[in-house]
């Protein structure tokens, strides 16, 4: 990692004011992410992993410390449309056809209709929805809707992809297929976007990421960073390899350590 970091957290804390007093969602987080890296954020509920992601996207602002995205403030990065975002729910606009949902960001950015349409259709084909451009979201299954949401996030070729438990609502079989599809989308893009992928699933984090950031809750902190040196391209057999199992165990141990620490405190 000799390239300068694309995302940098420097002693970042985030405190929410709630009815029961201030809640520290993130405490003193420092982290740097290289361009083109695939980062998985994992940890129990309340560890601040979604908050971390939202700080990158300028959907929330830090209470202290600084976040830099491509050397800029997150706000400037957002205004420059440097990132695409995918949530756990597809959040497709139900009054738009699938194709026009994928076109939405391009429409807002003022791209010409013909270009929009072409780009949307080629992305829909890429995610296996080539025949569903004219369908409305409610006519699609959950997995298909999430594919459309991914196509929408990729439509304007952002250099950063923020994904907040994007496969969390899918069944296990669909989920594993989507993981493989996501990796092939990611690796075929040139240049590869930087992916920040929030998840609850240990195997998912290990299968996808270059590095797994293990976080601990109350207050949210980075507990450990586990590098994943599994060879790419990662395929079906990757999940059955001994290396995969030992890394899953390593991440699991790191997560358990966060539990123990909390009990001791």
């Amino acid at each position: 990692m000799n390239t300068p970091p694309i995302i940098e957290f420097d002693r970042v804390s985030k405190v929410y004011q709630s009815g029961g007093g201030p809640v520290t969602a993130l405490l003193d987080v420092s982290l740097s992410i290289a361009a083109g890296e695939f980062i998985a954020l994992i940890g129990p509920s309340g560890c601040g992993k979604s908050t971390l992601m939202r700080l990158i996207g300028d959907l929330e602002q830090p209470s202290s410390g600084t976040v830099r995205v491509k050397g800029k403030t997150p706000e400037q990065a957002r205004l420059d449309r440097d990132y695409g975002i995918v949530f756990q729910a597809p959040v497709l606009y139900e009054w738009r056809t699938v194709r026009r949902n994928v076109e939405l960001p391009l429409e807002i950015m003022g791209r010409p209709p013909a270009e929009r349409r072409e780009r949307a259709m080629s992305l829909l084909r890429l995610v296996g929805l080539g025949d569903f451009g004219d369908a409305y979201p409610h006519q699609l299954s959950g997995g298909m809707q999430q594919r459309a949401a991914i196509a929408r996030a990729l439509s304007f070729e952002p250099s950063i992809l923020l994904m907040d438990e994007p496969f969390g609502a899918l069944d296990e079989i669909t989920r594993e297929r989507m993981q493989t599809e996501l990796l092939s989308l990611w690796s075929s893009a040139a240049p590869r976007p930087t992916v920040i992928f929030v998840t609850h699933s240990i195997p998912e984090a290990v299968f996808l990421a270059d590095r797994v950031v293990v976080m601990s809750p109350r207050p949210g902190r980075v507990q450990r960073i586990v590098p994943i040196d599994l060879p790419r391209p990662r395929v079906f057999e990757t999940r059955e390899s001994p290396g995969f199992f030992s890394l899953v165990t390593e991440v699991r141990e790191a997560l358990r350590a966060t539990e123990n620490e909390r009990v001791e405190v």
Binding site: G57, L59, R78, R81, Y83, G84, F87, V91, Y93, E94
Partner: protein, 277 residues
């Protein structure tokens, strides 16, 4: 026997018959109850006129034989009421829409003005209509304008409330999405808040449709009005003892105006909100 009214647009031809059946069934039942009650309780034509005599009344000429048939006169007046209600509906709808957008953008205004908006609807329309009609008349405005204003007065309220609710119903994540695209305030409105609020708007418009017709009819009641189904109702009520059929007929036509208006809104909803299953 009732069938659930399954609103599947563009269904098979069989579904049309299936949807018409309950309507026909209800009408037949009502007619049977009407005539049955007359027979069972021995009601005279004066107490509850027979269906036959009401139909007969439809085809009696007005003005001692010189005017058109009563049903034609009723329908012509119903049409006049419909036009006034439609005008008031458009004015009130735009006003309600504008207020909702204003309140959404400036919550301070909402807190300040909402009590008056609500208050305006607790004053009986019967008290306000004559003031508007007479007041506008003195200013030399055409009578239809005053009637439209009364219809608009009843229309804007449900539209304001429904639309405001709709404008605020965009999910936090759909708003985050717009933020991530660095959308302009107008794009937030046009591409997200407005389409999200359309189902709410149409629910409000359906309520407003019947309210507009009521408003138009009430505005026709103050003395001096010369056309409209409200005038027909007043006239028929005067002769109720000697000829009750005319009042029933006027009520039927008033109901028909309301149902047609409501149907128009439903039709517009089907054409515009077509993404709903």
């Amino acid at each position: 026997m009732t069938y659930p009214a399954q609103g599947a647009p563009g269904g098979a031809p069989g579904t049309l018959a299936r949807r018409a059946l309950p309507i026909i069934g209800v009408i037949a039942t009502l007619l049977l109850l009407w005539e049955g009650a007359r027979l069972l309780f021995g009601l005279s034509e004066q107490r509850l006129p027979s269906l036959g005599s009401i139909i007969e009344t439809m085809f009696t000429p007005t003005r001692g034989g010189a005017g058109p048939l009563l049903i034609v006169q009723m329908l012509a007046n119903g049409w006049a009421t419909f036009r006034v209600a439609l005008g008031g509906f458009v004015i009130g709808g735009l006003l309600g829409f504008g207020l909702a957008v204003l309140f959404m953008r400036l919550p301070v205004l909402e807190r300040g003005l909402m009590p008056y908006v609500i208050g305006s609807q607790t004053v009986p329309i019967l008290a306000i209509a004559p003031m508007v009609v007479v007041g506008f008349g003195r200013m030399g405005a055409p009578p239809w304008l005053a009637k439209m204003v009364v219809a608009a007065y009843l229309t804007f309220f449900p539209v304001t409330i429904g639309m405001l609710r709709g404008l605020r119903s965009a999910s936090p994540q759909s708003l985050d999405l717009m933020r991530s695209y660095a959308a302009t305030p107008f794009q937030y409105f046009w591409k997200l808040r407005l389409p999200v609020s359309l189902p709410y708007l149409f629910t409000a418009l359906k309520i407003a449709a019947s309210a507009a017709v009521i408003g138009a009819i009430v505005a026709e009641l103050p003395s001096g009005a010369r056309e409209g189904i409200g005038v027909m109702i007043l006239n028929a009520a005067q002769y109720y003892n000697s000829r009750p059929q005319a009042l029933y007929l006027a009520i039927l036509v008033a109901g028909l105006v309301g149902v047609c208006f409501y149907g128009l809104v439903v039709l517009a909803e089907h054409l515009i909100v077509k993404w709903r299953a």
